[in-house]
Amino acid sequence: MSMIRTEELTFVYGEKTPFRKVALDKVSLEINEGEIVGIIGHTGSGKSTLIQHFNGLLKPTSGKIYVDGEDFFADKKKLKEVRFKVGLVFQYPEYQLFEETVYKDIAYGPKNMGLSEEETDRRIMDTARLVGLTPEQLQKSPFELSGGQKRRAAIAGVMAMEPKALILDEPASGLDPQGRARIFDMLRRYHDEKNNTIILVSHSMEDIAGFADRILVMNEGSVFCFDTPPKVFSRSRELEKIGLAVPQITRVMNRLNEMGCGLGDDIYTVKYAEKLIRQRLEGV
């Protein structure tokens, strides 16, 4: 069942001005319910413009977008509904924390949905557990938390709305390796429990490689490819040509291929590389 579907989605910034720029050019794609999709692309490739269409922040210049099978731009009343169905977490979401306590901050979204106090409380406690915030931390001011905790509190605010699809723009950027790992563990836990769609925008191929079911590569406003990680990374040379950084391990494996000692062209994690090398050496 499709969660989000676009048909020749086109978006033009500054139409009828000298600064006219086609940000999305006839993008047709389909993201399934429960799927984890990673979106990569260089700055200006159109990935942020694309995700802003997914919850109706931008209206297509031409083409169609369907969320949960509905063309929400055709019926204005549906627009609000879409914002609850598709939750969007912006880059550096901790800058948007504003309430007196973490609890109240997470409550902001559910309250605006018109949920009862009990239901709001249930959701806050549930998401706090998922993102790893303790009841004591919920009573603190958001500004007393560490950077990583603030980030997780801000993401919890969107998760508490229980959107069918959760979109995150660079959720781990600026965090140290442990902070990054925590964010991805948390998203994994969320997905295992709720089985909702997750769409993740990132510059880090390493992060996306180990996490997504499918990777959407954007280039110059168009879909460059949309496939499983092994299929995408087998085109690593082309990806580097369009300004993307493939994982370090993939570059080393490409170098080994050139040296005539190839193990394959679809290697993108250290564990997989280790497995293949050991298989070769142990003759299994």
Binding site: H42, D176, P177, G179, Q248, V252, C261, V270, I277
Partner: protein
């Protein structure tokens, strides 16, 4: 004078006056760190480890509670030294949008020089030179907000270069950039160090960036935990992982294979070294 940057037994706490009684958070606990002129030092540590606090001690934004910091032999706690220290040790921050003040690139680069009262003809010369050095001369009349993140960071670096500093401190300058922007900034930093002998202190979360430095210092819990060459630091895979840091993927792969009993060097940190070592391992077997 032997060391360009010299922190001796530095302790530093942040004081929260809003609370009664005021609470203190101890961030640096007796840190001693010396950096030679012309050295390229990378500082690693997880969020909250104290690495940014330490960097701010080196250009007198933070003054230590105890211990001393000297820059080019000048003590940071003497207010007379403030201007020479800041023009000798410039700082580049994480967010490119927070450090650009003017509406035209070349005016931004000239900002510090104007404040220092440099002659207009000399300002012109130094601004042009700094912009050429970072490869942004063609953009000198552009509006900064229309530049990419990597370009903005290079403009920020040019603003510091124009002061002709002996040292640049960079606090996660690539954290908000895409891979292309990161490459641009890293090549600029390396070029300044190798070709112009500028002392570099680079704070980063990217292990692959740290691997390109002459020396790495790992800060943990406000103390210097490790200090050595990239090879000697990254070969301590377990220690690095235990404190929440990482090692480059190539180091991790070789470490895992070595642990499984294969004969590989334990100090591989570059892609080429890794490819060579794996090539030898895989072909030796076939002979």
């Amino acid at each position: 004078m032997e060391f360009f940057l010299d922190a001796e037994n530095v302790c530093f706490s942040y004081v929260n006056d809003a609370e009664e009684p005021p609470s203190r958070t101890e961030v640096l606990k007796d840190v001693t760190l010396r950096v030679k002129e012309g050295e390229f030092l990378a500082v690693l540590g997880h969020n909250g480890s104290g690495k940014s606090t330490l960097a701010k001690c080196f250009n007198a934004i933070n003054l230590p509670d105890s211990g001393t910091v000297t820059v080019a032999g000048l003590r940071t706690d003497d207010e007379e030294n403030l201007i020479p220290i800041r023009s000798n040790a410039g700082m580049v921050f994480q967010n490119p949008d927070n450090q650009i003040v003017a509406t035209i690139v070349e005016e931004d680069v000239a900002f510090a020089l104007e404040n220092m009262g440099v002659e207009p003809s000399e300002i012109r010369r130094r601004v042009d030179e700094a912009l050429r050095t970072v490869g942004m001369y063609e953009y000198r009349m552009h509006a900064p907000h229309k530049l990419s993140g990597g370009q903005k960071q290079r403009v920020a670096i040019a603003g510091i270069l124009a002061m002709k500093p002996k040292c640049i401190l960079l606090d996660e300058p690539t954290a908000m950039l895409d891979p292309k922007g990161r490459d641009e900034v890293m090549s600029t930093i390396k070029m300044l160090n190798r070709e112009q002998g500028v002392t570099i202190v680079l704070i980063t979360h990217y292990m692959e960036e740290a691997a390109q430095a002459d020396r790495i210092v790992v800060i943990d819990g406000g103390e210097t935990l490790l200090d050595g060459t990239p090879k000697s630091i990254f070969s301590q895979v377990e220690t690095m992982k235990n404190i929440g840091l990482d090692v480059p993927q190539v180091t991790e792969l070789c470490y895992r294979l070595k642990k499984a009993g294969y004969d590989l060097p334990g100090d591989i940190i570059t892609e080429e070294e890794c490819a060579q070592a794996l090539f030898e391992l895989l072909t030796k077997r076939g002979e």
